[in-house]
Amino acid sequence: MTSLTPAQFVRLVSAREINTRLRTKGFAIGTALMLVAIAGYIALVHLISGSSATVGLTSPVASLRPPLQSVASASGKKIETVAVAPADASAGASKVRAGELDALVVGSPDDFTVVVKRQLTGDLRTVFTVLARQQALNRQILALGGEPAQVDATVAAATVNTVALESGSGQYTQRLVLGVMAGGLIYIALVLYGQGLAQSVVEEKSSRVVELLLSTLRPYQLMAGKVLGIGTVGLLQFLILGVAGLAAALADGVLTIDVGAAAGMLAWAVVWYLLGFFLYALLFAAGGALVSRQEDIGAVVSPLLVLIIIPFGIGLLTVPTNPNSTLVAVLSLVPLFAPMLMPMRLGAASVSGLEAAVAVALTVVLLVLLVRVTGRIYANAVLRTGARTRLRDALRPA
């Protein structure tokens, strides 16, 4: 037997936390559920932005295919066309009824009718309205002795001239969504693993195993091991979700920003997850040490949860609509708020290097301070059983 160094004690404790947590059903199920939620979100975005409509064309109106496609692509709508034989017009109608076709075009090119299940909706209505007007226009051009194809070519060549005041505006929304998602993931991780840590501290108190533990190692070593162990499990889950989500969104094409930018955002999210987790974990560990029974845990955990919910709520309500809000800009520098607000702002707005550095520095300063204070609370309170230990008593020097 050899004497263990403090680092070895911390490693033993954190290894136990990691092993027991990774083996629980909760971890696997929780991660799987969150992956499903992310996949569902990506599918939803895909559905909304990129869905195409299927339109059946009977043979008399087959010549409408090229103008229909050109109108559709000009208005940003994807349309697939399917040829339907005239004898099958009734069969085509039943396909519309069955939902296989979104619309069926019958009649003649000059006077066509669109058969739909209930109504011609949104984008498709626009496309067909424009098509009908174009056909009418073509007839007028012919009647006036003009050449419709020539006019069409001239018209088609005309485009809107735009001037973008900010670059990458197409990716702006994506970055915004990514930022909010990063903030959301950090929020979920803080709530889940912060509470998990407090529960684990109370479990050791209520089962009295802490007395046996503290006959071999010092309180700060136990606390550090627990915080690092649970933080590692949280980081693992965070990375699984972050990498899988980004990879899926990039592969699917929902996300079109370049991989480097996505990785950069993920890296910042990891930095803020770590800073945020340690900040809150210290508070959760000290809070857990103040109570002796699982039933009393709510009293110490709820104030901390409120502290987490407030910045997340402010971010969620403000950043998407007003990313350059001064309130959010100021709050994102405040240590306990920064871990959720900074990632959101990083996505939506340009955060200057100075701002990022100040936010990190302030958080680290608070972290150092909290290590001392919470370490003392934990050491003083973790062996006291019975009624909830008053904070004032726990802060007294041992």
Partner: protein
């Protein structure tokens, strides 16, 4: 040398838990720690384990204060048992062995060995909470022994044990002491303490009020005789000086002699009263000694 408590004091606010408590447990000795609830036994043990800090005084092992380094070689069973309810028996025993400085391989071998010896090997893969209370106690004992300690500090190791487990625990304690382990344990089961311990310490209100072998302690207690004089008139013994009649049943009387009283004088008086069929010293049990000491201390 051995394990030495040197003038250890501890107060909780105005309550004095330990008041200059001093005693020694020799190497390889089984020392029984008895006293009423709240006398300070648990406080003394927790101070020895470093779970609690003493206000003054020191606990030494072989002359040097008990540091964390020495405590690695102490096996501890807290009064309020404590293990992880939702952790597998083997995993947590290995964990505790490793916290005491064993390598993973040595820890696994020791856990295998002790779960076998304590009869819980077949439950080693189960969560602790699935075991019966009796088996949980065995695992708790294994947790105190698994790192091959040189000192055992057991707080109420017999409480809550069924008779089979009591025998097992007794055998283990004796076996450990034979192997040179120094054992300090507290108990309210005075008959067990009497049977197992080389020496006994009685604490009351944070002070050691008596300490020694059970035989030594008996010498300090009251001297009692059972005397049977069938033909004697009732109440013959009541008039004897320095003698208290504790009880009579038929012609038999239980007498307690005042310290220093001459038992030969009592015998002569009995013979004078009639035919004596029994005149036997009654050795007080530790139970009676304990009550006596507590009365004296109060």
């Amino acid at each position: 040398m051995g394990l030495e408590f040197d003038r250890v004091s501890k107060r909780y606010g105005r309550t004095v838990a330990l008041d200059d408590l001093s005693f020694e447990v020799a190497v390889g000795e089984v020392f029984g720690f008895v006293g009423p609830n709240g006398a300070g036994k648990t406080t003394a043990m927790r101070i020895a384990l470093g779970v609690l800090a003493a206000d003054s005084g020191v606990v030494r092992w072989e002359g040097t204060p008990l540091t964390l380094d020495v405590r690695r070689r102490v096996g501890y069973m807290p009064e309020e048992r404590g293990l992880y309810p939702k952790m597998k028996v083997r995993d947590q025993l290995v964990y505790f062995a490793r916290l005491h400085g064993m390598t993973d391989g040595a820890a696994r071998r020791a856990v295998e060995d002790w779960t076998q010896r304590l009869g819980v090997a077949d439950r080693a893969g189960d969560d602790l909470q699935k075991l019966s209370l009796g088996n949980q106690q065995r695992v708790q004992l294994a947790a105190a022994l698994v790192h091959d300690p040189v000192i055992l500090v057991l707080d109420e190791p017999f409480s809550g044990l069924d008779p089979v487990a009591v025998d097992l625990m007794s055998d283990v304690l004796r076996g450990q002491a034979r192997a040179g382990v120094t054992v300090l344990f507290s108990s309210h089961h005075l008959d067990l303490v009497e049977r197992l311990c080389d020496r006994v310490g009685i604490v009351s209100a944070g002070r050691l009020v008596a300490c020694g072998t059970v035989t030594d302690l008996r010498g300090t207690g009251p001297v009692r005789y059972v005397v049977d004089v069938p033909d004697a008139p009732p109440g013959w013994a009541h008039r004897l000086p320095a003698v208290k009649v504790l009880s009579t049943s038929g012609s038999r009387a239980e007498l307690e002699l005042a310290p220093g009283a001459d038992e030969q004088a009592v015998l002569r008086a009995a013979l004078a009263a009639g035919r004596v069929t029994q005149f036997a010293p009654e050795l007080p049990s530790l139970n009676e000694l304990f009550r006596h000491v507590m009365r004296e201390a109060a």
